[in-house]
């Protein structure tokens, strides 16, 4: 899956899980979502699709490079800013290559783990 086209246009990226529709957009106007070696702050929206999903109890984010056996050099901070929105600060993809975005969403039905591959171009 490549995010480059959408993120470079400054658009949010969205996808659906059984319980939630997840949307990521850059907090700074016009900033690219996924870029090499640049700090980015995301606004992540979690919209419940199924009624039973209910309120998000916890949300965490991490990104790893499985081929390199390491993750980001920064530890992203996740701050709840509203019932359905989180601010993720300190996201920096410090190397080009294949990354794996990892989201954990905890609600009353359990914990959903979402992993999404992302290629960061060398530019």
């Amino acid at each position: 899956m490549s995010f480059g086209f959408f993120s470079s246009l400054g658009l949010a990226y969205e996808w659906r899980t059984p319980n939630f529709q997840i949307s990521i957009k850059a907090a700074e106007k016009g900033a690219e979502l996924f870029q090499l070696n640049r700090h980015t702050t995301w606004i992540v929206s979690l919209l419940p699709i199924e009624k039973q999903a209910g309120e998000v109890l916890d949300f965490t984010f991490d990104a790893r490079m499985p081929q390199h056996n390491h993750g980001m050099v920064t530890k992203a901070k996740v701050i709840k800013i509203s019932r359905l929105e989180y601010r993720v600060e300190g996201v920096r993809f410090h190397m080009p290559g294949n990354w794996l975005l990892q989201f954990l969403i905890k609600d009353k039905t359990g914990t959903t783990r979402i992993e999404t591959p992302l290629n960061i171009d060398n530019k």
């Binding site: 640049r38 050099v73 920064t74 300190g90 290559g97």
Partner: protein
């Protein structure tokens, strides 16, 4: 009505065209480059024009030097070679950073007032660095240059002795650059005073992760356990084997510092940080940028002929070019030694065993130290808008010393003038370039602590390919210039 429709259509077309230009600029080029990199790493032979696209990312960019930088650099240069800035009057910055050795010392590990445990890195092209020292414990050249002056194993001068030295030897230089020397210091300055540099303590989590990852059964048997679950006592015992974790006591020099009043301390720190600014301006101008490789790249980029062979010279020929191809391709060296300065400003665990205790955790210690550094980009003395906007400064709020990837990771050194800066690795354990290439070719070692990056596999290069790669690395050498002159 028609004219409205027409103008709307025209407006939409303009938007589409502008959009396409934008897409081409921001999407197509990086994707193309990424494809080329992937192909090169997958050993797919690249056509000449494709290689040329990759090579353009190795074109050297000069530092931005302002008139103020040049003024500061003039004093910074004097200080850099000044042996009076040491306890025994014999050591200057140039003792370890010798211009004739590309600003290194040729020694296994640095020798100041005492023998140090890390190899002296070069300062050439350091304007392009985000972090300094092997573990990145400072975030600017200014902050970095202050450490050796006060380090008891390097120059061993106290902060107040430095102020006295300026008053007695270089007062006019100082005042021309920074205004009047603080009167409050002239009246009452203890002869020897400096704050104790706090040794940050690893959290139990770091110590535990280190123990778990320590690829040294003997070490584990010493503390009587090879279990993953560790008691507080075991963690305490292991902590003593780690660098910079021994107990620290205050001394008379720090007592003298804290006896000064707040304003005196502030002014003394201000003078100290101003010295750092002078060093920084001087070191920013030290570059190595006109190697045989650079000359080849310039010829190749500027020509309409993509055939590299047309642009070869006596010093950059078939072997060097083959080495460059291996560097980009089979060797994948550029993954870390990337861009025109041949470094990525990041930290990696390359699997070198720890030679002996105390074990050096590298970036883990660097993260803890830079966050506490009074002279970091967020401190009151060296903060300015350009520093605070830098990616490394933004990193400070999010750096994590506990992360396993920081343990045993060290900064990627530049490969510029690498043939002139032997010996190699953080502790100077490898004497020649050939030994370094043999290390990566076989990768027979395992990390003493932390986890070696998975992408580091034995290169399995032939003797011929190793020789070509070595030739390429030698082609990166050039005369060192001082752009502030």
């Amino acid at each position: 009505m028609i004219s409205k429709k027409l103008s709307l259509t025209l407006f939409l077309w303009i938007l589409i065209v502008l959009g396409m230009v934008g897409i081409r600029r921001y999407i197509m080029i990086p994707k193309e480059q990424a494809r080329l990199l992937r192909d090169a790493m997958g050993n797919k032979p690249l056509a000449d024009n494709e290689l040329r696209k990759l090579a353009q990312f190795f074109v050297f960019q000069d530092p931005e030097l302002t008139p103020r930088d040049r003024e500061l650099a003039h004093w910074g240069r004097k200080l850099f070679f000044e042996t009076g800035l040491s306890k025994n009057g014999k050591i200057s910055c140039a003792t370890c950073h010798k211009p004739e050795l590309s600003f290194t010392d040729g020694k296994t590990t640095a020798q100041g007032l005492t023998q140090r445990d890390r190899n002296t890195p070069t300062i050439i092209n350091s304007f392009s660095s985000f972090w300094f020292y092997w573990d990145g414990r400072t975030d600017s050249l200014a902050a970095q240059s202050l450490n050796p002056i006060e380090d008891e194993g390097e120059q061993g001068l106290t902060r107040s002795e430095l102020a006295f030295w300026i008053l007695n030897n270089s007062r006019s230089d100082y005042e021309n650059l920074f205004g009047p020397f603080p009167k409050i210091l002239e009246k009452a300055l203890p002869f020897k005073a400096r704050p104790l540099r706090e040794r940050p303590q690893f959290s139990d989590g770091v110590v535990r992760n280190t123990m778990v990852s320590a690829d040294n059964p003997k070490l584990l048997s010493e503390i009587g356990s090879n279990e993953l679950t560790l008691s507080p006592q075991q963690i305490r015992q292991f902590r003593q084997k780690l660098r910079n974790q021994s107990p620290q006591k205050g001394d008379v020099l720090s007592v003298n510092y804290w006896r000064m009043n707040r304003e005196q301390r502030f002014e003394l720190d201000r003078v100290f940080s101003n010295v750092g600014l002078a060093f920084e301006a001087f070191e920013k101008g030290i570059v190595a940028r006109d190697s045989a490789f650079d000359q080849f790249i310039r010829r190749w980029m500027q020509s309409s002929n993509p055939d590299p062979r047309v642009h070869f010279s006596e010093k950059f020929n078939f072997s060097e070019f083959l080495g460059f191809q291996i560097f980009l391709g089979k060797g994948a060296c550029h993954v870390c030694h990337s861009g025109p300065y041949f470094k990525d400003n990041q930290f990696h665990n390359i699997g070198l065993p720890q030679s002996q205790a105390p074990f050096d955790l590298g970036r883990s210690l660097g993260v803890l130290t830079v966050k506490k550094d009074r002279f970091n980009c967020q401190g009151i003395f060296l903060k300015d808008s350009s520093r605070q906007k830098s990616e490394s400064c933004r990193d400070l709020n999010f750096l994590d010393s506990e992360t396993p990837e920081a343990i045993g990771s060290f900064k990627t050194p530049t490969l510029r003038n690498v043939a002139e800066t032997a010996p190699y690795m953080r502790d100077g354990r490898l004497k020649t370039l050939r030994e370094v290439l043999e290390h990566y070719n076989k990768m027979e070692t395992h990390s003493g602590v932390g986890f070696r990056e998975e992408t580091l596999k034995p290169l399995n290069l032939s003797e011929h390919e190793i020789a070509a790669l070595e030739d390429f690395l030698r082609s990166l050498s050039s005369r060192v210039e001082d752009l502030n002159l």
